[in-house]
Each structure stands twice: as structure tokens, then as C-alpha cells.
Amino acid sequence: MTLTVSFTINGAPVSTAVHPETVLADVIRDEFQLVGCKVGCDQAVCGACTVLVDRIPMAACSTFAFEAEGRDIVTIEGLARPDGTLSAVQRAFLDVQGFQCGFCTGGLILLVTALLERDPDPDRATITDWLGSAVCRCTGYLAIIEAVETAARLNREVAA
């Protein structure tokens, strides 16, 4: 049995046939070749597969594909402007090297993007609380926290 789901992904409307038990991560990776969505733990712990669903960060490995019906999905490939200009969060992660192996980075950048949309100037406790839905085994988090604070500052500079 398959069902058809329709949604937008990085702004483009799409339709695809999926099994009821297919997860969103597999559709994003296999059907749309957006392999920046990484599957780490496959159990919604590590956050590497995080995508934005109607601007809410979700673990694509543990979200059914049919749940995407009518939603707006953004993956890491959809964050930069069409001319290649990086978003403030991407810029900040790049500038302060908020990554090492990079496997968690796409998910983290989307998670932080959603955080700053809700709280443009988060304090340290809010940042570490929000990062609770991600694991980075490489950095020891110092550079990631610095990247979040840098991105918030970049956003403020753009707004000012």
C-alpha cells in the first residue's frame, strides 16, 4: 500500500508516493536527494536529521512522511539565498568553526535558526536548553554556543 503526500520542500511544491511507515528522512534523502539531512541515531536523540516543518524543528528520522502533508519543509540545502548568500546562522557557524566532522552541523544550524526566530537574543541557559535536542560528539559545544551567540549578533546588526 502506498499513499500520496504533497508538501513544499525548500519552497518547491512536490508530491510523492510513500509507504505508510516511510519516514520523512528517507523521502528527503532518497526521493529528493537532499542528503544534507543526515541520519545519526535514527531515534530522535542526536538531531543530525533535524529539518524545519512549518518552521518547527523536527527529527526527520522519526517523523512519518505522511505527516508532511500540506506542510512547508526546509532542509539545510534551503537556508542560503538562491544567490548563495549564507544565512546568519550558517555564516556564524562557518566564521567561528562551530563544527568539526560536520555530520551534526546541518541539523544544528536548522535548530538554531528556529531558536533565533523565537528568541532573537537567547541567554546562555536558553541556548544550552535548546541544544538539548542535539548531540555533537566532536566540539565539546564551546564553539557551537559561540556560533549561536555570533548568529544572534549578526541578526541584530542586519536589523539595526
Binding site: 509507504h19 537532499l34 542528503v35 544534507g36 539531512c37 543526515k38 541520519v39 545519526g40 541515531c41 535514527d42 531515534q43 536523540v45 542526536c46 543530525a48 532542509t75 539545510i76 540545502e77 537556508l79 542560503a80 549564507l86 550558517q90 557557524f93 562557518l94 567561528v96 568553526q97 563544527f99 568539526q100 566532522c101 560536520g102 555530520f103 551534526c104 552541523t105 546541518g106 544550524i109 541556548i127 544550552t128 536548553d129 541544544l131 538539548g132 542535539a134 548531540v135 555533537c136 560528539r137 566532536c138 566540539t139 565539546g140 559545544y141 564551546l142 564553539a143 557551537i144 554556543i145
Partner: protein
């Protein structure tokens, strides 16, 4: 080729290196970075593995008939297929681990049946239809049980392989006793006499826990057999070691095996040495189709752990606090199979001396086989176990003698230029300088807050490997752009950035235009693998040599074109200067070679020589210190430890990228901090892994960081690499747990001898010390 030797001089200070452009950073923030996880081939099948539910059992039979009949299933592999291989086992120097279980299983999670099917869903459905008939055997839960007289044997016969050769004062024995995989000893001076003479002799035992690597990209491989060649896209960080293993296992010439190493999504040792790569190749061979096997994190946890250990140190000390002699008995829990256990035993034994003077040492380090997940390489292996025990005992000795732990360390430190051991290289960091920096940053001399405790620890390990060698190719195009080819895998440490920066420095060209080439064993020069923090120094020295040769080649070409001697010319950007006039190179190259241009190309190769006079049969290339200070408080009602401050420093010799160096130290330190505070792989009494899932295996998250966490990296300019460089990747692991344990003792007066320092463990230690 040149020999690479430990540095015995201070390099002249260079101007501070600007932060080099990141190789691949843009791809990592835009989702364009490609890992082995993303490798895909036309017609590719997907494999899944059925794993043993028993810690130890004989396999009486496997019925795969129903699974084979499932539509979409293409191949099923069992031990019967492995038995037909040229060599059905693997392991570093002792090959005892079957490609897939043959007749017996020896740990929960061992691979028993593999299925390749059109997709993972079908492969999993097929595995559910497989029947395995097990005859359970007695389990060996820990080294004590495995060493007990009459204990059941994990292996009835000696396994293939050899005892790794060692140097002066050392011995190396393969399978010296029942269930003992390997034994290393090191002896110098007369320990018995020193113990008899000493004013004080202290014997203390330390227990060290097992943890998992938890790299976010699971182990993943894509294999293809085609036209007699085996091609592999692998997350393994040792492409050439893997090629050699596959060559032995399949009985194929190594040149018929081609390994690609894309970006690696974290490893920390978990992706070094051979793992399930031969199994994926075997499935692909049988299926006659490309096959991908991506483990889940649950499966990765059942693939490899760090070595749990028991370390007993008997240390003789003079009345003034001078260290005289040490006897060490180290027992490592190797789990079911060798993996890298031989190296871990040897390195633990070698490193147990710590950063101090000794008149005599007598060390025995054994790996014992148990029916648990195999233990192997984990960032700084042996160094973390040794530093923990040694640095905890330093504080215990200081307290017993009424000496400040800082003073005890400083009076016993090896000074710069003093050899670590007779016949070995000299310490190439200012150990006291680093510890002083920690004390200043920690406020070690300031009055302590009520209930708080301070702990110091200084870990040290050898770095750069034993007799390692590496090749590198540097190419410079007609437009002055650099390509570097080397087999140091990009695993998050910034190998490409560092190696490109080294080449650009030698050539005076822009590192932003340099590219680190893809790793492909058909074209990339060989090295020993991405290990022991050797990439910057060993491979980096080969890159520097290749870059210097290419520079000569460029000047020779320009001299010929300008009809002068190369010595008359200086390379200046992508032009040569002669008598004040600047001649651009690009038109010169195109004028001679034509429109397609040209690439000046040179090979560099360095080898660390073997030396039988050194304990490990090669003088160690450089030394990696880890200076740590912790401030903690302990809730005596709950046993909860709060780490208020954690300061960690190391010495990079010379820094190319400060952010990369600090990132390495911070990342390693937080892995070690997690192990100290809460992280461990636990087993039930029936030897079922208790928390081998992402939900139950807890690693450090951002909210777990100490209230204040500070990292520093010094430049002592004494390393053997270009400009005084040393490696730094493993350093930050070494002495975190000891510093925290020492701070707990300082705060409470009680030594907690169980890792992690969980509230339960701390409360138990407090209660034991004060039963009232």
C-alpha cells in the same frame, strides 16, 4: 625521502599564523558535504545483519530457507561463506575476529547472518525469517572470571598472528596464558631493591570504565566487486591498513583493491582498524551487485568500546616526596576479540610512568578476553587509562605525605630535554609552565569557597606513532593553485586545512586556493592511517618535503625559460623575481606547455626510523601533555558532584589554526568529562548490554558542560613538524577524570574509586568512609 626524528631544539618563533581558510567548511554549513554515508551506486543493494543475543554460544545450525524465498532478497551470508575466505579473520597483529561468526559467538551483538536485499526494509524482514539454533556456553563477564583457574576458554586454539616486536627493556607475548590475548612488560632499574629501600611504599588500585565512541555517522561501507577488482567507499579512517587487511582476507593483490575515503562523520578511534568492511565486501561478492551496509548507532555501540581496566600501582617515594620506583599491574578488559588491543596494552604499559623521573620501573600490562563487545582504539588509547591511575595516585601520595599536589608534581617532573625513558626521546614541552598556567586560570592559590575542592592532573602520552611513515603529493597548476594528495582522512580535525596550509606556507602561495584531494588508494600516496595525532607532524612533514621539491621544480623551469640559474630567482606569489624584475609564471607555463597548462608535481615521503634501543622500538616523535585543573563541590546528602570550573590545556608546538587546536582539546575534554561524570556502557549480570541504545546511552550535551569551561593551547616550539609543530588531537582526553577525582577528594577527603563519579558511586564512597 627523509627520516623524521624527534626534535631536540627550540624552533625560532614564527609570526603568529593567521587563521587559515577552512577546507570544506562551506560544504558543511550548506549541506553539500559528502560522507561515506551518502555514497550510492547504480543497482546498489542494502544489507542488514542478524546479531547474537548470547554472550557466548555454539551455533548448532542456521536455517535461511524462508529468508531466501522472500522476494527482493539477493544474497545471504553466514559463517560458511566466511570459512571459504583466504583468511576468515582479522585483527591488528592477532587475527582472531571472524568476518562473520563461524561456529561460535563470543559477545552479544556479534554478526551471525547478513542479508542483502533491494532495500533495508526487505533485508530486515528477511532477517526476521532466519532461524539460528544456539547452544549457550558459560559467559566470561570480566577479567577476574576469565583468569580464574578452570575458566571456560573463549578460543580452544591459538589464533593467527604474531607478538608485535618491541625494544629495549620491553617484552611482548601473544596469548601467553588461557584467555589472555596479549602481555607487554617493561623493566628498568631494580624495582625490588628500590621498594625495600624507600621511605614510603604505596599500593593503590584503580578501576577504569568502558565507554562507546558514539560517532554520529555510524559505521558505513559501500562495496563493489567488478572485473576482478574490489572497490570500497568506507567510513574507515585507515584506507591503506584496510586495503592490506582486505588483501589478506580475500587473497587478492592489494593493487586490485581500491578504497575511497570520503569525509568521515566522527570516529575517535571507533573507525580505525578493520571492522565490518570485509563482511560488506563478502556480501557484495556473493550478491554480484554493489552493497551498502550502514549500521545503526545501536549496532555501532555493539561493535567497539574503550577498554575497561584495573590498574594496581605500587609506588616507592622518598621522605622528601621524590618518586623512586613503580611497579604496575595493568589488566585490560579486551572483550571478545583483539581489534587494537595489542597496541592498547603496550601503550598503557608504556605510559603508566607519567611525566616523571623514575629510578626503576616494572610494568606488566595484559589484555584478557571476555564475552563482551570487543574493546579497541579510543582517542589516546592506553594514555587515558594510564594517566587516570597515575595522576590519581599522585594526589593520594601528596595527601599522605602532607605535600601540596602541585609541589609533588613539579619536584618530580621531567624537565624539557630529559628523556621519557632511557633510549627514548626527550620531553618537548615545559610541563611546569603548562601546570602553572592552569593554576593561574583556576585560581589554585586563591582561598577556596566552603565545601569546594581543587584537583590538578597532568596527563602525557607519546604521539605520532611507532616507526610511522607517510607520503604526500603536492601539485601546483599553471595558475599557481595547490592540490595536496595524502591519505590522512578528514574526520573533523581539519586535516585538509592544516596540510594545505603547510604546503602554501612552503610555496608562499595562497592557502585559500589550495585543495585537499579526495582519498583514493589508487592515486593517493600511502600512509599508516589517521592515528595517534600523527597527521600534522608525519603527513605534514611529507607535504612540506613535497612542497619544497615542487618549489625547486618551478624555479628550475623558470630558470630555463629565463636562461639563468635557479639560484638567481625567488618565488614571489605566482611569479619569479630576478634582479628586481617580476616575471609572472602563468604566461611562461602556457607559453611552453600550451593551452592545457601543466601541473608541477612532486612527491614527499618521511619515515620515523625504528630503533631497538627505545622501549617501543622507535624513539617517540613528540609528547602530548594535558594540563587539567578542576574545581568541584559535592552534595553530601545526594552524592551529586558539581564541576564549577574545568581548565584544560595542551601544547601544539606551533599553532596553524588556533580554533582547530582549541576545538580538538575542548572536544576531547568533554568526551573525557562525560566518562568521568555519567557516561558508561553497562551490562546486566547475564552480560546483556544494559544501555546500548541512543535513548539509554548518555553522552555529554551542551547543558552538561561545567559552569566554567576553559581551554588553552600553548606553543612551546619544540615539536618535530614544520616550524616546531606537534599533534594535539588526543591530548585533551588524558587527565580530565583524574583532575575531577582529585578535586572530589580535596572537597570531601574521600577517594571515589569507581567511574563514572555518579551520585550513587560518590554516596557509596562517602558512606564507606564514614559509616555513621
Amino acid at each position: 625521502m627523509s627520516l623524521l626524528l624527534p626534535s631536540n631544539r627550540i624552533h625560532p618563533a614564527l609570526p603568529s599564523h593567521p587563521e587559515p581558510p577552512q577546507q570544506g567548511g562551506h560544504a558543511k554549513v550548506t549541506g553539500a558535504a559528502r560522507y561515506a554515508f551518502d555514497a550510492a551506486l547504480p543497482g546498489m543493494l542494502h544489507a542488514k545483519v542478524l546479531r547474537s543475543p548470547h554472550p557466548h554460544a555454539r551455533i548448532r545450525g542456521i536455517d535461511t530457507a524462508k529468508a531466501a524465498a522472500l522476494p527482493g532478497v539477493v544474497a545471504i551470508v553466514t559463517g560458511a561463506d566466511a570459512r571459504a575466505l583466504a583468511l576468515p579473520t582479522y585483527g591488528f597483529t592477532i587475527q582472531d575476529q571472524p568476518v562473520i561468526a563461524i561456529d561460535k559467538v563470543r559477545h552479544v551483538g556479534e554478526a551471525v547472518v547478513a542479508v542483502a536485499a533491494r532495500d533495508e526494509r526487505t533485508a530486515l524482514a528477511a532477517l526476521a525469517l532466519v532461524d539460528v539454533d544456539y547452544d549457550p556456553l558459560p559467559a566470561l563477564p570480566d577479567p577476574a572470571a576469565a583468569l580464574a583457574p578452570g575458566a571456560p576458554l573463549l578460543f580452544e586454539e591459538p589464533q593467527p598472528g604474531f607478538a608485535l616486536p618491541v625494544g629495549a627493556g620491553s617484552t611482548s607475548r601473544k596469548e601467553p596464558a588461557p584467555n589472555v590475548l596479549y602481555e607487554y612488560t617493561y623493566t628498568r632499574g631494580g624495582v625490588d631493591a628500590a621498594l625495600d629501600r624507600a621511605d614510603h611504599v604505596f599500593t593503590d588500585s584503580f578501576a577504569f570504565s568502558a565507554i562507546n565512541h558514539y560517532h554520529l555517522e555510524p559505521h558505513v561501507n559501500v562495496a563493489r566487486f567488478e572485473d576482478g577488482r574490489l572497490e570500497l567507499w568506507s567510513s574507515n579512517q585507515d584506507p591503506f591498513m584496510l586495503r592490506a587487511d582486505l588483501s589478506r582476507i580475500f587473497g587478492m593483490p592489494d593493487t586490485d583493491i581500491r578504497v575511497h575515503t570520503p569525509l568521515i562523520g566522527g570516529g575517535f578511534g571507533g573507525k580505525s582498524y578493520c571492522k565490518m568492511e570485509p563482511l560488506v565486501a563478502l556480501i557484495a561478492q556473493k550478491a554480484r551487485r554493489p552493497v551498502r551496509l550502514a549500521l545503526t548507532l545501536d549496532e555501532s555501540i555493539l561493535t567497539l568500546t574503550k577498554h575497561a581496566a584495573e590498574l594496581t600501582l605500587t609506588t616507592a617515594v622518598g621522605a622528601d616526596g621524590r618518586l623512586l620506583a613503580r611497579r604496575a599491574d595493568i589488566v585490560l578488559d579486551g572483550g571478545a576479540y583483539c581489534d587494537a588491543s595489542v597496541m592498547v596494552a603496550l601503550k598503557t604499559g608504556f605510559r603508566i610512568a607519567g611525566a616523571y623521573h623514575w629510578d626503576a620501573l616494572d610494568v606488566r600490562s595484559r589484555v584478557v578476553r571476555t564475552t563482551k563487545v570487543p574493546a579497541g582504539s579510543f582517542r589516546g588509547f592506553g594514555g587515558t587509562q594510564a594517566s587516570y591511575a597515575s595522576e590519581c595516585q599522585m594526589d593520594m601520595i601528596a595527601h599522605r605525605l602532607g605535600i601540596d599536589p602541585y609541589d609533588l608534581r613539579v619536584m618530580n617532573f621531567l624537565g624539557p630535554d630529559e628523556p621519557f625513558a632511557p633510549g627514548d626521546s626527550a620531553i618537548d614541552s615545559d610541563l611546569k609552565g603548562g601546570l602553572d598556567e592552569v593554576c593561574t586560570r583556576l585560581g589554585y592559590r586563591a582561598p577556596k569557597k566552603a565545601g569546594h575542592g581543587f584537583g590538578l592532573a597532568v596527563g602525557i602520552k607519546d604521539g605520532g606513532g611507532t616507526g610511522n611513515h607517510a607520503g604526500a603529493i603536492v601539485k601546483v597548476s599553471q595558475s599557481g593553485r595547490i592540490t595536496v594528495l595524502a591519505a590522512t582522512a578528514e574526520i573533523g580535525q581539519g586535516a585538509g586545512t592544516t596540510l594545505c596550509s603547510i604546503a602554501a606556507d612552503v610555496l608562499g602561495l595562497d592557502a585559500a586556493d589550495a585543495r585537499y584531494g579526495a582519498i583514493d588508494t589508487d592515486v593517493t600516496p600511502l600512509n599508516n592511517g589517521t592515528h595517534v595525532s600523527c597527521g600534522t607532524v608525519v603527513t605534514g612533514s611529507a607535504v612540506a618535503e613535497a612542497a619544497a621539491s615542487v618549489r625547486e621544480e618551478i624555479l628550475a623551469f623558470a630558470a630555463e625559460q629565463l636562461q639563468c640559474a635557479p639560484a638567481d630567482l625567488a618565488l614571489e606569489g605566482w611569479a619569479v623575481r630576478r634582479n628586481g624584475a617580476l616575471h609572472p609564471l602563468e604566461p611562461m607555463v602556457r607559453g611552453y606547455y600550451g593551452g592545457q597548462g601543466f601541473a608541477f608535481t612532486a612527491y614527499g615521503h618521511v619515515k620515523v626510523p625504528y630503533d631497538d634501543g627505545a622501549p617501543l622500538r622507535s624513539q617517540n616523535l613528540f609528547w602530548m601533555p594535558c594540563w587539567t585543573g578542576a574545581e568541584v563541590s559535592v552534595d553530601r546528602e545526594t552524592g551529586r558532584v558539581t564541576v564549577h570550573r574545568l581548565v584544560v590545556g595542551s601544547d601544539a608546538g606551533r599553532i596553524i589554526s588556533r580554533r582547530a587546536c582549541e576545538g580538538q582539546v575542548a572536544g576531547a575534554a568533554i568526551q573525557a568529562y562525560g566518562q568521568a561524570m555519567f557516561e558508561s556502557l553497562r551490562y546486566t549480570p547475564a552480560l546483556q548490554p544494559e544501555n546500548a541504545t541512543p535513548w539509554t546511552y548518555r553522552v555529554a550535551q551542551a547543558a552538561d558542560l561545567p559552569e566554567h569551561f576553559e581551554v588553552f593551547v600553548t606553543e612551546h616550539m619544540r615539536g618535530p613538524g614544520p616550524g616546531g609543530l606537534k599533534g594535539i588531537g588526543e591530548a585533551g582526553m588524558l587527565s580530565i577524570a583524574a583532575a575531577i577525582g582529585n578535586a572530589i577528594e580535596d572537597a570531601t577527603g574521600v577517594r571515589v574509586n569507581a567511574m563514572p563519579f555518579s551520585p550513587e558511586a560518590v554516596l557509596a564512597a562517602l558512606d564507606a568512609a564514614d559509616p555513621a
